[in-house]
């Protein structure tokens, strides 16, 4: 095999962070879609908070919801990294659309693909992969958050071959759209012999008697993404709707989150890049004191720093994704990517707003939307504090 030579020795492994031809073509396609189709709608969707069914349908037609799944389940035969690239390009323009895709695939469909039986996969994945139906994952509860297990109150009891579920879930993305067909919830299903609480995941096809969603939350950002509180009141589903092993719900959820962190990092990088794009454009065109503001070092340096942060964050998530694709442990890399990219997304959004001056405070400007959309990235899918705990633990602390 012909490989590069270093110090007279042939090496077969080199660092190569270029995208291959297919992934680059996918990235460009989504970039074009976001620019041509999503961008003209973003301000209006942000203002109305309406769920963009038509955009979701178009994204479904492009196969974005099926990116990481094999063709036999209606997927595109790609991988999780391809999904991350799509999320990044969407978030460069609009975070609401990006999080709708992220949650639908990595929280709604991925657990079914990972832990479902063959029958469950055949029943659900084709619909979810086409984007015709959306899935949601109900984990967080009003008293939960970072203390997911300790705060869990939702219970499921097996009665006469059915799970009877009671409880409340908070902040669940995609839970209440007209095309939501599946909500997987975690619930206490008993006590383990060790005395620990047994947490299982159960698939709840919706709409369904005993399952209700509250009206949309009034959020600071992510306006066009569907986020709801869910209430389960004696909600009954067949016993075989258990997803994965009984009592495996928590462990399964934790591994879902490791992947999900990479996707959220991609989303954050997209937002950071969007802030950069807008700032470059604005700084070249906005005149002050007889010259474009880009000619002032105070502005140019801000923008240079935005580029450094975005570039670094992108490398961090590429690295985590690379380890994931090779099947290697990537908990630390995923946490680093998620922590860093979400924090720099907030920084870039703040700086972009500053560069735009008064206009940056006007809702119709993309940077104002990015600024409102950024903050949640430091909270969702594990807070910055939780990421630091994970990284510290990985370092043996």
């Amino acid at each position: 095999m012909d490989g590069p030579f270093i110090g007279g020795r042939e090496v077969t492994v080199v660092l190569d962070y270029r995208l291959d031809e297919e992934r680059e073509a996918l990235r460009k396609t989504v970039e074009q879609f976001a620019r041509e189709v999503v961008a003209p709608r973003a301000a209006e969707l942000d203002e109305s908070g309406e769920f963009p069914y038509d955009l979701v349908a178009q994204m479904g037609g492009m196969g974005l919801f099926g990116l990481p799944f094999p063709e036999e389940y209606g997927g595109m035969g790609g991988d999780y990294f391809a999904l991350c690239l799509a999320i990044e390009e969407l978030a460069r323009i609009d975070s609401s659309v990006a999080i709708t895709l992220e949650a639908a695939v990595s929280l709604g469909a991925m657990p079914i693909y990972r832990y479902g039986t063959e029958e469950q996969k055949r029943e659900w994945l084709p619909r979810l992969a086409s984007g015709e139906a959306l899935g949601a994952f109900g984990l967080t509860e009003p008293g939960g958050g970072s203390d997911v297990a300790g705060g869990m109150r939702t219970r499921a009891e097996l009665r006469g071959g059915e799970w009877v579920i009671n409880g409340t879930k908070s902040f669940i993305t995609n839970a209440g759209t007209d095309i939501t067909q599946l909500v997987t919830v975690t619930a206490l299903t008993g006590e383990l012999s060790s005395g620990e609480r047994e947490i299982s995941a159960i698939m709840v096809p919706v709409p369904r008697s005993g399952f209700s969603v509250a009206k949309k939350y009034s959020k600071v950002g992510w306006h066009a993404s569907d986020t709801r509180e869910i209430t389960l009141t004696d909600c009954r589903v067949p016993e075989e709707n258990l997803l994965g092993g009984r009592g495996r719900g928590y462990a399964q959820f934790l591994s879902t989150l490791d992947e999900g962190r990479i996707a959220i990092a991609a989303l954050a990088v997209g937002l950071a890049q969007g802030c950069l794009d807008e700032s470059i454009k604005y700084a070249k065109q906005r005149q002050a004191f007889g010259q474009p503001i880009a000619d002032f070092q105070a502005i140019a340096f801000k923008i240079a720093d935005m580029e450094v942060r975005t570039h670094t964050a992108r490398l961090a998530y590429y690295r985590a994704a690379e380890k994931m694709l090779r099947g290697e442990p990537m908990k630390r890399e995923a946490a680093i990517a998620k922590l860093y990219s979400s924090e720099i997304a907030v920084t870039n959004a703040r700086e972009a707003t500053q560069i735009h001056g008064g206009y940056g405070f006007m809702n119709e400007f993309p940077v104002a939307r990015h600024w409102r959309d950024a903050k949640i990235l430091e909270i969702g899918e594990g807070t910055s504090e939780v990421q630091r705990i994970l990284i510290a633990r990985e370092l043996g602390l």
Binding site: E21, A25, Q32, G63, L67, E71, M76, G77, A82
Partner: protein
């Protein structure tokens, strides 16, 4: 049905486009190349015809090596195979020569219907479809915003200032399309992956029986004599409404032939 869609790679319309000072031809190297926008509608229409009538869609591109990117994209949208006419001898060909070279290829590969965008965003001659039809001795159906094929008959709607004409012809035929005809699809990842394996036939002028003396910059019938950079956009006119604002707006629109 043997459908050939002609696809041209043009400089990205978002980028700054330039002519090369050395030979006054378009600089295709320093900017990103994209599929000519109207050709995307032609690709979409060819795929819809294929989906409705079966058959095969062949992409035909004349252009430098770099144009392979655009061929790949057309294949990822769903075309079946491609012919890439690529030869240094073709550099600088004008529309007369281009139509000659492409007609030679079309004769060689055969077709029931040839579809292309009604003009390209770089040269904007808008004459290729007519010239191809003339050279090939087949009907030309230009500026179509609707295409229907029924057996050996093709019917189109040709857009005009006053509405549209209904045009009918026998196949084979050449059709040029306008942007109102459809909404081009975005390629899916599956399509992108599949495109890699689809055949692309690379032809030089000799392979396509093209007389090298009849193509290229030196033999072109037209010549770019000189060029200057576009002047910066002038300031717009501001009209204060002094009771006659409505009339001024109407006068402006009338002067631009909008009303």
């Amino acid at each position: 049905m043997n459908i050939v869609v002609c696809v041209k790679q043009v400089p990205d319309t978002w980028a700054e486009r330039k002519l090369r000072s050395e030979d006054k031809t378009l600089d295709r190297e320093s900017v990103d190349g994209v599929i000519n926008e109207l050709d995307e509608y032609a690709i979409e229409e060819s795929l819809r015809i294929k989906e409705a009538h079966d058959g095969e869609v062949t992409v035909l591109t004349m252009g430098p090596e770099k144009a392979a990117e655009s061929i790949r994209k057309a294949l990822s949208m769903g075309a079946d195979k491609a012919v890439h006419l690529v030869d240094d001898a073709l550099h600088g060909s004008d529309v007369l020569q281009t139509s000659y070279a492409m007609a030679q290829v079309l004769r060689k590969i055969g077709f029931d219907v040839v579809i292309l965008g009604s003009e390209s965003t770089d040269a904007r001659m808008g004459a290729l479809a007519a010239m191809l039809a003339e050279r090939l001795g087949v009907a030309q159906l230009s500026l179509a915003n609707k295409v229907e094929i029924d057996g050996g008959t093709i019917r189109t709607q040709r857009v005009a200032d006053y509405g549209f004409d209904r045009v009918e012809a026998s196949l084979p035929a050449v059709v040029s399309v306008v942007e109102k005809i459809n909404e081009p699809r975005y390629p899916s990842f599956k399509g992108i992956m599949a495109a890699k394996k689809k055949p692309v036939d690379k032809l030089g002028v000799a392979d396509a029986d093209i007389d090298a003396a009849k193509v290229g910059l030196t033999g072109a019938a037209t010549e770019v004599v000189d060029f200057v950079a576009a002047p910066p956009r002038e300031k717009g006119t501001i009209v204060k409404d002094e009771g006659d604002g409505g009339q001024k707006v109407a006068e402006f629109l009338a002067s631009k032939k909008f009303i």
